[in-house]
């Protein structure tokens, strides 16, 4: 197992290098990092030439990639060429906020999805089952941005009409630098969390239901029933535990995807997360900040893929790695 994990981790490294290289080539060819500075009036031609030289922008793209990699390790992702500020503090701050929102949403979706999935499978074709099946299909078809917008409009309207503040519809804290676990913060992140949660919940509840039904039809469940175990012990002890195995993989992969998809939700709720940061930097054509985001997100996706693979091997002893 340890050898497998080591090999799997080692395999992730070339994947990351290639994926960032591809992104880098793509971003560098598509956009001029100094485009914004060139149109800023008080920046002289000399400054631009100095910057070009300093950041090796006159070199071929693969060489620049190498300098960028050095920058990532030595200067913590380097500096933005638009604001001339270091990128690292922005990334760490926004990453913390995004992780708080994404992990809360995923945890909630997972718990609810598993519970609903179990109950739907046990009471297959009941009203409950049909209700949540319809809900999931709706969840699959729902554009994230539309759901976010509906929630935002509804809660803004409630506030304007009755002057009751249930949830805030934008921002992260009422006062700058509020604490991370206050009621105020909760009121702010509730709507983004609900948005992300609904989409993931649709996936998890469907998947858990299918997985439960698969296990319910196996021989050992029939044996367990035949030997006289009470139904709740069959469900919780035999079916539930085995049905959880596939959903761990799905969840780990999905968290990586949701992390990347949080751009939309954060932008609508103007939440100071890494997705909103990326959106702003992209609008300003800030190439190195965009690259920093792509790197962080690639690391997250590769990391969660890794977790998915390892968890799968760990939970299911039938899987052997040699």
């Amino acid at each position: 197992m340890l050898a497998y994990i080591t090999r799997r981790v080692l395999y992730s490294i070339p994947v990351l290098v290639l994926s960032t290289f591809l992104s880098f080539v793509f971003v560098s060819y598509a956009g001029d990092p100094l485009a914004q500075l060139r149109i800023t009036p008080h920046i002289s031609q000399q400054t631009i030439q100095n910057l070009t030289h300093q950041y090796h922008l006159d070199q071929p793209v693969p060489v620049r990639y190498w300098y960028w990699v050095q920058d990532v390790f030595e200067h913590k992702l380097g500096k933005s060429l638009v604001t001339l500020q270091p990128i690292w503090p922005d990334i760490t701050r926004t990453l913390g906020h995004t992780l708080q929102v994404v992990l809360t949403a995923e945890l909630l979706a997972l718990v609810l999805g598993v519970i609903v999935g179990i109950y739907s499978a046990v009471r297959q074709y009941s009203f409950f089952d049909y209700f949540f099946t319809s809900f999931s299909f709706l969840g699959y078809a729902m554009p994230v941005f539309w759901l976010a917008l509906l929630l935002q409009i509804a809660f803004t309207d409630i506030y304007l009409r009755w002057h009751v503040r249930i949830f805030y519809t934008s921002g992260l804290n009422s006062t700058a630098g509020g604490s991370a676990w206050s009621l105020d913060r909760l009121q702010h992140i509730a709507l983004p969390v609900v948005t992300l949660c609904v989409i993931s919940f649709a996936l998890y509840s469907r998947f858990m239901r299918a997985s439960m039904l698969d296990v319910l039809n196996t021989d050992y469940v029939r044996t367990a029933r035949a030997k006289g175990l009470p139904e709740w012990r069959v469900i919780m002890g035999h079916v539930f535990r085995n049905a959880l195995i596939p959903i761990t993989t799905v969840a780990a992969l999905n968290i990586g995807a949701v992390f990347g998809g949080a751009i939309i939700t954060e932008t609508i709720f103007t939440l100071d997360g890494i997705g909103f940061y990326f959106f702003n930097r992209l609008s300003a054509l800030d190439v190195y900040a965009v690259m920093a985001y792509l790197l962080v997100t690639s690391v997250m996706i590769v990391l969660f893929n890794l977790i998915a693979d390892i968890l799968y091997g760990f939970l299911d002893p039938r899987i052997r790695y040699d």
Binding site: V15, L18, S19, L22, S23, F26, V27, A30, G31, T133, F137, L138, Y140, A141, M142, P143, V144, F145, W146, L149, L150, Q152, I153, T156, D157, R209, A210, L213, D214, G260, G261, I263, I264, T267, I268, F278, F279, L282, S283, L285, V290, Y293, L294, T297, S298, I301, V302, N305
Partner: protein
């Protein structure tokens, strides 16, 4: 039955040509047998796998209802010129932000410069349809070719192509799409579609590769080889038809995903640019006027309805064409 003359083409493997063996055999076994049964008052129908698939699909009530709804919705989009009461860009400043009404055909109300939202939504459907179908078409071709080459030739080529597929899957898709459309694809739905297609072929490539890997070992492929068929002929004439089921199912679902993604990109302002009406741009118009609920509700509901129907049709097609992949039904 065109397959009669080419017995090596019918494969006993799912999904499509399985029963053609039986049907073809019946066909060859002779006109005389059929004539005699007709005389005896029994009608013998030769049914191909396609006709089985068709009848399975026709029996799928949800999928059929969705298909009819889709035909109506997309029909509106295709014939937008005739159906929409206004042009998508007609400005009427005397009639701004009007709530939905039947007066003067403003069924979905008007926006802040008096454009009729019903017409804009209908033209938006057309844009979505164009993007969805084009992306599905392009990505299916990419997935087919990459999967076919990888599965047929195996070895280092397979390894290379599959590692590349893995790589595309680990790229942060939405972010790269945003970068791509921000820097390259501004405005035109065709350019946006080409960029989208680059991220949509991976799943199909894996499925097609799997089918090719198993079918290339079959006896009928060996027979074709012995008869002197070249690689290309075997790949496209003999193996490819067996992948059509998954390709159609995947392509259908890709239309839905592409429409959703395009709407998200356009909503964020990095996809299709105004004045071309896109459903995503229309929802963004609702974001700019949060007090006017109709500007958000109608384009959004249209997206939900389209995607929902495509997903149901895709599910029905999966059950009809690809019985081996049948999942636990809802």
């Amino acid at each position: 039955m065109t397959e009669v003359g080419q017995p090596h083409e019918a494969s006993p493997v799912p999904p499509l040509t399985g029963a053609t063996v039986g049907a073809a055999a019946l066909g060859t076994a002779g006109g005389s047998a059929i004539d005699s049964t007709v005389e005896a008052g029994l009608e013998l129908k030769v049914r191909s796998q396609w006709s089985y698939a068709r009848s399975r699909f026709l029996r799928h009530r949800l999928a059929m209802a969705s298909l009819i709804a889709l035909i109506v919705i997309f029909g509106c989009g295709i014939f937008a010129n005739y159906i929409a009461p206004y042009s998508y860009s007609t400005i009427d400043l005397t009639n701004i932000l009007h709530p939905p009404t039947t007066i003067a055909h403003h069924y979905f109300g008007t926006d802040e410069i008096g454009r009729d939202y019903f017409s804009r939504v209908i033209y938006g459907i057309r844009t979505s349809l164009e993007v969805g179908v084009f992306v599905a078409f392009l990505s299916s071709i990419m997935g087919l070719i990459i999967g076919a080459v990888a599965g047929y030739y195996r070895g280092w080529l397979d390894n290379l192509l599959m590692r590349f597929t893995d790589l595309v899957l680990t790229l942060p898709a939405l972010a790269i799409l945003l970068v791509a459309s921000a820097l390259l694809g501004q405005g035109s739905q065709w350019r946006v579609s080409i960029i989208l297609a680059f991220f949509f072929w991976t799943q199909l490539a894996r499925i097609v590769r799997g089918i090719f890997l198993s079918l290339r070992e079959k006896e009928y492929v060996e027979a074709a080889k012995a008869a002197g068929s070249g690689d290309l002929r075997i790949m496209f004439r003999h193996i490819l038809p067996n992948t059509l089921g998954p390709v159609i199912v995947n392509g259908t679902l890709a239309v839905a995903t592409a429409i959703l993604t395009e709407a998200a990109l356009s909503f964020l302002g990095f996809g299709i640019r105004p004045p071309t009406p896109s459903l995503g741009v229309l929802v963004a118009g609702g974001e700019a006027n949060p007090q006017q609920w109709w500007l958000t509700i109608f384009p959004g509901l249209t997206i939900v309805l389209i995607v929902l129907c495509i997903n149901f049709v895709g599910d029905g097609l999966r059950d009809a064409l690809d019985p081996t992949q049948r999942r636990v039904r809802a």
